[in-house]
């Protein structure tokens, strides 16, 4: 065997063994690390646990094993799953600094890119490509690209298949997690508050349930708004749901204050709702105006306020006339049938 051939063979052996030695570290966590991550993930947290409390075990693990990819990844995920905009941006800044402190190091370029995944995803793609230019054997970059290309917002079936295949060649049996992870369910506390109110069980802290429920749903919104996994339209619809949820909460509170004879509080909140409806009527958001108007109609009906019912129905009639819409016309008919004596137009009654 000639010397150059031997040299090539040695070189090839070295590369293969290097890849064989390095690959498992980047395909799956070492058993010890996996165990530690599992333990941190299963730590019992009280409902009232703060973001810092939830993330602390993952941050601690990351600090103990700063060279382990999987503890970094899990730490990033914990922030994305539990943090709000400020926390998520904080992690991005943290990994940007690490990347800048280690120029040309694929490990840190990858982690910075991954911090941007789902947030500034086009930039995350660029960074994954940079990782692979620096180190073509860096399998997690293929995994991240596959995650991105199979997500709804950045779907590219061909590229997803290519990246998945490349990842599975490097890490046989490796899975591509579905992104984004599912958003938490909507809070059930408002429904619970409504049930208690219907049953007259006002000794419960119904306002507490309402406010906690609204805060849970506001928090849920933070699982959506900071991420580009979701389209602008989806985010706006999520905000719309939240706005409607506030109306629902206020309606429960007014009824609770009535039932517990806290007239002052009920009146204050009711007039605040009326003021909000007035402001809504000036905005262009007809759908939300209807949500608010219906909430008020329900309350006026419960207090037998035909004058207010007529006023509110008249407002709805004007809104429907301004932008004729079959759905709203049908809804208006239903509301009239429910709240008005048969055959009377609220506008006519006001004349």
């Amino acid at each position: 065997m000639s010397f150059p051939r031997l040299q090539r063979l040695f070189a090839l052996t070295f590369l293969v063994s290097g890849s064989a030695l390095g690959a498992p570290d980047l395909c799956a966590a070492k058993p010890e690390i996996a165990k530690r991550i599992a333990s941190a993930s299963s730590a019992q947290m009280p409902d009232s646990a703060s973001f810092d409390q939830i993330v602390a075990p993952f941050r601690s693990l990351r600090d103990q094993f700063p060279m382990d990819l999987f503890v970094h990844v899990r730490y990033q995920d914990s922030v994305k799953d539990h943090g709000i905009e400020g926390h998520i941006q904080g992690v991005v800044d943290e990994y940007l600094k690490l990347r800048d402190d280690h120029p040309g190091d694929s490990f840190y370029v990858y982690l910075y890119g991954r911090a941007l995944e789902g947030r500034s995803t086009p930039q995350a793609i660029v960074l994954m490509q940079e990782v692979l230019r620096l180190d073509s054997s860096f399998a997690p970059a293929h995994q991240t690209l596959a995650e991105i290309y199979q997500s709804a917002s950045f779907r590219d079936r061909r590229r997803a298949a290519v990246e998945r295949a490349r990842f599975q060649v490097a890490c046989p049996g490796g899975l591509i997690p579905r992104r984004p992870s599912p958003t938490p369910p909507r809070s059930t506390l408002l429904a619970q508050a409504e049930r208690l109110l219907e049953k007259g069980q006002v000794e419960h802290d119904i306002p507490g349930l309402v406010y906690k429920g609204l805060q849970q749903d506001e928090w849920r919104l933070q699982r959506i708004r900071p991420f580009d996994w979701y389209t602008g339209e989806y985010k706006r619809s999520a905000v719309r749901e939240m706005q409607s949820e506030h109306w629902r909460g206020w309606r429960i509170l007014v009824r609770y204050y009535w039932k517990t004879e806290q007239e002052d509080k009920a009146n204050a909140l009711l007039s605040e709702m009326q003021e909000r409806l007035l402001r809504l009527s000036r905005e262009k958001d007809a759908d939300l105006f209807w949500v608010g108007a219906v909430a008020l109609l329900d309350l006026y009906a419960k207090r037998n306020r035909p004058d207010r019912i007529r006023d509110t129905l008249a407002q709805l009639e004007r809104s429907a006339a301004a932008k004729p819409n079959r759905k709203q016309a049908a809804q208006l008919s239903r509301l009239k049938a429910k709240f008005l004596p048969r055959g009377r137009s609220p506008l006519a009654a006001n004349r």
Binding site: G86, Y211, P226, E233, Q243, L280
Partner: protein, 495 residues
């Protein structure tokens, strides 16, 4: 003994009668004297005469103004999830939740409202901020310097805890405890402690009507105006300088110390500082504790497209900040009602462009002229802001020890007096108002002499002037007859 004591009692009773009679006479004399004192007529009733578009604007410009004014009246919540508060970006710290809540009197774009005076009678909107949208237990403390019938205020700390200069605004409230800010725990600043240290100063909202005209007065015109009547100014101890940006050396003109270059900067700063909304002019989130940052920055930005669709009108495409600046820029100045004999006599005493009267006009310049303008009819017009836009040393009495640009601890911009007829509160911190004489207190607050200075000394060790530049003019005001003082006050209330 008994006899004597009776005599003593009689004498004592007589003296008591005499005493009562003297007291009564004194009261009557004082009462008569008081009745003869000049008094502030108070905010002028009747129509607002302000808040509309500049009268010569064309139909498109007027429509744009109307749209931008609507944005000015928008109310913000943290993420825009509360209806009726559909703007987003409130906090983490803030002083109020909408421009028009504070810039309210006598119409949107104006200044502090009052619950029982003026055209817009509402409670101090800042008091609501401690309660609005708060979960039970999340209510915040209303700082002691806010009263329901007092001025809207922002607070600045003079120094940092380490003694270095601060001067920045510290938001009165935080979003912690609001229903739309779960998890945020940012506490309010310790205003009670800082007040006890004497470390807090205040600013009230400046009215913004007609400010687009002021924006459009060329620098050269301001320089020339300041140089006018130099001999007389020197005689009266009046100096003044234009505040300038360190960036390009041009004149800055908005804010209590004329620290802001343009209306866009003015609006951007206010949006960031007063409401906590980061924007394209001031893109950093203030008090950005991670757990209280709910929106990406800047929270307010240009809206070019939405889901690939054109956003529509110029107002819709523009950021809120651009809308605010445009609403201010295109607004008309307040309409004066100067017409009665007393108003006109007062005007002559105040001084006009032709005759200095007692000298008020030497700083509160009657007339400036705008340069060319892209907006219909707003270019090359004479305007009457009653200000030279310069900053002047007002001495220790008004000093707030905050430096802004070239304006030092006691230097303040000559406050434009157009619209002063309907103002409720006066001076940078709102110290003069209906509860303490209003305009009269404001006038006399212009006078200040530092007793620790010697005769030739110009500045005290704290950097403030030993004597206010207004001292001699205020002496002249004081020397006027009561009727003349009243004429001057009537004139001011006609503006």
């Amino acid at each position: 003994m008994r006899q004597k004591s009776r005599q003593q009692l009689r004498a004592a009773g007589f003296l008591k009668h005499i005493g009562r009679a003297i007291s009564l006479c004194t009261l009557l004399v004082v009462g008569i004297a008081r009745a003869q004192d000049a008094s502030d007529p108070g905010p002028r009733p009747g129509p607002a005469g302000a808040g509309g578009p500049y009268p010569t604007l064309n139909a498109n410009e007027r429509a744009f103004f109307a749209a931008t004014l609507e944005v000015f009246e928008e109310v913000d919540s943290v993420s825009g999830t509360l209806t009726g508060e559909s703007g987003k970006g409130l906090g983490p710290t803030f002083n109020s939740n909408g421009c028009a809540s504070c810039h309210a009197q006598p119409a949107a774009l104006g200044s502090s409202p009052h619950p029982t005076l003026g055209q817009v009678r509402v409670n101090n909107p800042q008091l609501t901020m401690a309660m609005l949208d708060r979960v039970p237990g999340g209510e915040q403390i209303v700082p002691s310097f806010l009263q329901n019938d007092g001025p809207v205020r922002e607070a600045r700390f003079i120094t940092n805890p380490d003694g270095s200069k601060d001067g920045g605004v510290h938001g009165l409230f935080t979003i912690a405890g609001r229903v739309d800010a779960p998890g945020c725990n940012l506490p309010q600043p310790d205003f009670a402690g800082e007040l006890a240290r004497g470390n807090v100063i205040f600013r009230i909202p400046t009215p913004t009507f007609g400010a687009g005209l002021i924006e459009n007065v060329p620098d050269d015109a301001l320089v020339a105006n300041l140089a006018r009547d130099a001999a007389l100014k020197q005689l009266l101890g009046i100096g003044g300088k234009l505040n300038r940006t360190g960036n390009d050396g041009t004149v800055t003109r908005f804010g209590w110390k004329a620290q802001n270059k343009s209306l866009l900067i003015f609006a951007g700063e206010a949006y960031n500082v007063e409401q906590g909304v980061s924007n394209e002019v001031f893109p950093n989130e203030r008090a950005a504790v991670d757990g209280c940052v709910f929106n990406g920055t800047p929270e307010d930005s240009t809206n070019i497209t939405r889901d690939g669709k054109d956003m529509g009108t110029a107002s819709e495409m523009s950021s809120d900040t651009v809308n605010f600046a445009a609403a201010i820029r295109l607004s008309a100045p307040p309409t004066p009602t100067t017409s009665s004999d007393s108003d006109l006599r007062g005007k002559a005493l105040f001084g006009t462009s032709g005759a200095a009267g007692i000298g008020c006009v030497l700083c509160h310049s009657e007339t400036l002229t705008t340069g060319r303008s892209p907006f219909t009819g707003m270019g090359n017009v004479d305007i009457h802001p009653y200000s030279d836009i310069a900053v002047h040393h007002m001495g220790q009495g008004l000093a707030d020890y905050v430096d802004q640009g070239g304006a030092g601890p006691d230097e303040f911009r000559t406050s434009p007096l157009w619209g002063v007829g309907q103002r409720i509160f006066f001076l940078h911190d709102g110290r003069a108002g209906p509860a303490n004489g209003g305009l009269i207190t404001a006038i006399f607050s212009h006078r200040s002499t530092n007793p620790s200075c010697d005769e030739k000394q110009m500045f005290a060790a704290d950097g403030t002037a030993c004597r206010s530049e207004a001292n001699q003019v205020i002496d002249r005001y004081e020397a006027l007859s009561t009727d003349q003082q009243q004429d001057l006050l009537n004139f001011l209330r006609s503006l």
